[in-house]
């Protein structure tokens, strides 16, 4: 399949060209980068349809080497599902940054780092080799450290340093885990490693490496004991980057890598699944409680991300088809409404130059588009019935009850109540109430920012349709199958490899 490497080549090449020519021609970066992200979006739509109609993954052998020796790039249903989310959100955020990033200097450097981060995330998703996954993981991480520090004000730098100190330790843990696995099974290919694990049996090194992976990937996914960086990094970054970090980076680098390694390579062990459910529940409650006390708009949304990621981890940790389906659907929904909420927060900051919710108020007349889209996102994230968040949360709670984990289900409901309460606080303080004197002259944001918010709000309204069997057959269901069948992954990959 020839289009597989395009997911890495296009953003990497574009990042290079923009850093080279972007300084002279201002419009060139905007147009070129939007074009690239839109192309990637079209390719990912094509990919998800062709993968799911073929029902077998696409494999590209880098340099023509046969997989257990060479590096394969694998696109199966789960990867295609994640690629579609990543490319869609990136395209929307790119449209938004065209206007938003006018406030900063050196736009070409922003686009360079943005596309490098995209290349890293795509690389993590399509890599079929665990060390290669680590390399792309670091590429995306380093770009994100630089983007968090992009404003170069005191707070941004402090947040970036905190994020880096934790991120570096996390990545070293992952590398150490890979080293342990390699020294015991002498293979780096994920499918081949799964095969060797079944033939040679599991020894103690695997348990140790699993713990290292939970720390490393869990840190990027911001599961609760490892969440401290997120609440600083998200408010400090520029709004498009907060949307990108919260919408897709913590999912592709954290959730995807964690569950790909655990379900498809190491094999879903019962005790680790229990640990995931426990960590997920803790994240739901802790994130929700911490969000309640915040006065910074973006910091509240950041804590809300921790809480919502808890639902995804809980759903995927259940290990039943319904739980995995709900978790993946919530992952998709969360990427839509949380990106939208961060873009709304960016629009409010763009118009009023403040993020403190006590200094805001009454913006619903002045900024109707921002207000309406944010209301839709709020209803989506709180799980009000016709919107998308309702279906995924309902599925996760049902799955908890179905697999006799009623306690976890109850905590999920408590988390949902917490969600609605802090979002009511946010809406009341920002968009309702009296308009403060200093914000009388506030205007609505520019056209492209409005467009991107409206597109994402449409996804929030109609996203619930993805739970219908007729649509999920091409979207979530095959991805769920990849995770649920777990160890079947190696057989499928080797079947395709040996085809030709």
């Amino acid at each position: 399949m020839k289009i597989v490497p395009l997911f890495i080549i296009l953003p990497l090449g574009a990042a290079f060209l923009i850093s080279l020519y972007g300084k002279k021609k201002k419009r060139f970066c905007d147009i070129f980068s939007s074009l690239i992200t839109f192309t990637l979006f079209l390719i990912s739509v094509y990919t998800i349809f062709s993968v799911n109609t073929r029902e077998l993954p696409f494999i590209y052998k880098v340099g023509g080497w046969i997989p257990p020796l060479g590096i394969p790039l694998v696109i199966d249903s789960l990867t295609a599902f994640m690629l579609l989310i990543v490319s869609f959100i990136t395209f929307i955020i790119n449209l938004y940054s065209v206007n938003y990033m006018e406030q900063f200097t050196a736009k070409n450097k922003f686009y360079t780092l943005f596309l490098l981060m995209l290349a890293g995330m795509n690389g993590v998703l399509i890599s079929g080799d665990i060390f290669n996954l680590y390399v792309f993981f670091e590429l995306a991480s380093i770009a994100s450290y630089a983007l968090v520090a992009y404003g170069t004000q005191a707070e941004e730098l402090e947040a970036a340093f905190k994020y880096m100190a934790m991120g570096v330790v996390g990545s070293l843990f992952i590398l150490l885990g890979i080293a342990f696995l390699y020294s015991n099974y002498s293979t780096l290919n994920m499918a081949d490693m799964a095969k060797t694990l079944t033939t040679q049996g599991v020894n103690k090194a695997v348990a140790f490496a699993s713990v290292l992976f939970i720390v490393g990937f869990g840190l990027k996914a911001a599961i609760v004991p490892f969440h401290a960086w997120l609440a600083d990094a998200h408010p400090a970054a520029p709004a498009p980057i907060s949307a990108m970090l919260s919408g897709i980076l913590i999912k592709s680098l954290g959730i995807y890598s964690l569950f790909r390694v655990f379900y498809n390579v190491l094999g879903a062990n019962h005790s680790f699944l229990t640990l995931f459910m426990f960590l997920g529940t803790i994240s739901i409650v802790t994130g929700g409680l911490l969000a309640l006390g915040q006065t910074d708009l973006k910091r509240m949304l950041a804590y809300s991300s921790i809480s919502q990621i808890g639902y995804v981890v809980l759903g995927l940790g259940l290990g039943t088809p319904m739980g995995i389906f709900g978790g993946l659907l919530h992952l998709f929904n969360h990427s839509a409404f949380k990106s939208l909420l961060f873009l709304n927060a960016g629009a409010v900051e763009y118009a009023t130059k403040t993020r403190d919710i006590n200094k805001l108020g009454g913006l619903r007349k002045k900024m109707p588009v921002t207000f309406n889209t944010s209301l839709i996102a709020t209803m989506g994230i709180s799980g009000i019935p016709p919107f998308n968040g309702f279906f995924s949360k309902l599925l996760i709670i049902f799955a908890c009850i179905q697999s006799k984990h009623i306690g976890y289900g109850l905590w999920a409901i408590v988390g949902s109540i917490l969600t609605i309460s802090y979002f009511m606080k946010l809406q009341k303080n920002v968009f309702f109430g009296p308009l403060p004197k200093e914000h009388q002259e506030t205007n609505e944001v520019p056209f492209l920012m409005k467009t991107s918010m409206v597109i994402l709000s449409l996804v929030c309204i109609f996203g619930g349709l993805a739970a219908l069997p007729r649509i999920s057959k091409y979207f979530v269901k095959p991805a769920e199958k990849v995770l649920f069948e777990g160890k079947e992954y190696k057989n499928i990959v080797f079947k395709v490899v040996n085809e030709k």
């Binding site: 390399v135 450290y145 005191a154 570096v168 590398l175 080293a179 390699y182 020294s183 609440a231």
Partner: protein, 112 residues
């Protein structure tokens, strides 16, 4: 076996510096020590007594060849470490410009 323990001790020293030290530069040195310990671990398990370089030539018998992959992994990891450390030192310099100190207990605008 003792070399592996020494490697573990090196890693622990790095972690101690990251967690416990107050000075940003010392934290960065901790990161460097940690990444060197991991690189050392990669090289250690790829080591083979009296092994020969993994070059293939037709008239030679393949015996005692070392595994080239851990060395390639260590090289990649060194390059990634270089990029990370360069960025973190850059950020530390900007922090010094803004706050006028390297002491992390005095750099605390962010809380909550």
């Amino acid at each position: 076996m003792s070399t592996y323990f020494l490697c573990l001790i090196l890693f622990s020293i790095g972690l101690y510096a990251i967690v416990r030290k107050r000075n940003i530069i010392k934290i960065i040195i901790g990161m460097v020590i940690c990444s060197y310990a991991v690189n050392l671990f990669l090289v250690l398990f790829g080591y083979k007594m009296n092994g020969r370089s993994p070059l293939y030539s037709p008239n030679q018998q393949i015996a005692d060849m070392v595994d080239p992959l851990p060395q390639a992994m260590a090289l990649t990891s060194i390059v990634i470490g270089l990029a990370t450390i360069a960025l973190v030192v850059g950020i530390a310099m900007r922090i010094y410009e803004k706050y006028g100190t390297f002491d992390i207990t005095k750099i605390k605008n962010l809380k909550g």
